[in-house]
């Protein structure tokens, strides 16, 4: 991986036979052009041609894409769905939040008709979800938590204390010892800080 000099956009980098187009570039008429003003990066892949991309130091706005795992905050719930604000895409924070919806049938993978939204999420919870659709004319991003690794990661009890998960569907407050129902995410051990 070598970082070469700064390149303005529209410049012809190389022909499409010498390398494959990475991010910040586009191909036209068999040549690769840069579409961003930034630094040229040539990464050699093990299989096949090196990948040419143009990177900027300040990351430009990332949009949630279908299949991406996003971190969101629940803002309101309903008997049919929960509305959320998408805060992070992967591990990059978004400059402006996007709005998303988690429908009742997308909260769990099994027993979808027995799900109660009030027992899965509450306003203010931080939820890990996956984008299943970019939405159409009527709706915004559609998200799903129908996996073991997705669901509520941070929730506060009525006492205002952060709750501890005890099972996949319950969390307990360490101060008042009351149990609350949530659809809890099984966070991978490497992401837990102890």
């Amino acid at each position: 991986q070598q970082l070469l000099s700064a390149r303005p956009l529209g410049e012809r980098l190389c022909s499409a036979e010498e390398a494959t187009a990475g991010s910040g570039t586009y191909t036209r008429h068999g040549f690769i052009f840069s579409s961003l003003a930034g630094c040229l990066e040539k990464r050699s892949e093990d299989s096949g041609l090196p990948v040419v991309s143009v990177v900027r130091d300040a990351e430009s706005q990332l949009l949630p894409d279908v299949g991406a795992v996003v971190t969101c905050k629940v803002c309101s719930i309903n008997s049919r769905f929960a509305k959320v604000h998408i805060l992070y895409v992967g591990s990059t924070p978004l400059k402006s939040t996007f709005r998303g919806t988690i429908r009742r049938e997308d909260i769990r993978a099994t027993e979808k008709d027995k799900v109660e939204v009030y027992k899965s999420f509450r306003p203010g919870d931080i939820v890990l979800a996956k984008v299943i659709s970019l939405g159409d004319a009527q709706s915004n991003y559609l998200l799903s938590t129908a996996e073991n690794e997705l669901g509520v990661v941070v929730a506060r009890s009525e006492a205002g204390v952060q709750m501890v998960p005890i099972s996949w569907c319950e969390m307990q407050c360490p101060r008042t010892h009351t149990k609350d129902f949530r659809k809890v995410a099984r966070v991978q051990p490497q992401f837990l800080q102890t």
């Binding site: 303005p8 529209g10 012809r12 052009f33 949009l63």
Partner: protein, 275 residues
Amino acid sequence: MPGVVVLSLPPPPRAVHAGSRSPPRGRPGNMAAPELLSDEGYRADGRRPAELRKVRARMGVFAQADGSAYIEQGNTKALAVVYGPHEMRGSRSKALPDRALVNCQYSMATFSTGERRRRPHGDRQAGELALHLKQTFEAAILTRLYPRSQIDIYVQILQADGGNYCACVNAATLAVMDAGIPMRDYVCACSAGLAEDTPLADLSSPEEAAGGPRLVLALLPASGQIALLQLSARLHQERLEAALEAAGQACRALHAVLDRVVRDRLREVTALLGD
């Protein structure tokens, strides 16, 4: 009609250049009109026919916007600010399912022209120029990368001295680049006119007001593709080629200037990061 007094003003003084003996070229038959090109081949502000006005540009003028740029072409000053791509504001039904929506607003400051303007934006000319900007940038920005989102481009003219649309396009190009939104190529715009048979590049306000044909060209310089071409007043078909060629040359010269500005900015930004 009673009560109406008609005043006739004396004709404006003719600009006399030392050594010119033949009558001035400009509007034929009107000796009092300011001449566009003198006998020695100089324009009213001392430029050669194919010469551009002095261009000064700066990127990253505002910290709070995603991208911003400021450009001066002669006395015309334009400011462009870009936000995005972000979620659709307003009606979600206008969101395009496979690409981003480019939303442009063109406004002229009330102090930009000789007489104070009443409405900065919202009038018909601003709406038309905003539509032209939208058309130009939808051709240049790779909108397919950002489905169902919106990119906002706001341009404001701080001082208008001819070539308003062109300065806006050039400023907006730099601002979009500053925001990190991928584009096919630079978009460079320039105006051109005709003085008898000589094409003039980059018209200033008095040259535009002279009433001759005015060609505005927005070009993607590397590929030579035209994003927008606008012609006002009438032009004979045989003269179109020459005027178009002059505008194209001017756009390419402008591209060289903007390229230098972008390279300087990149060098400055990477030096700040300690690369």
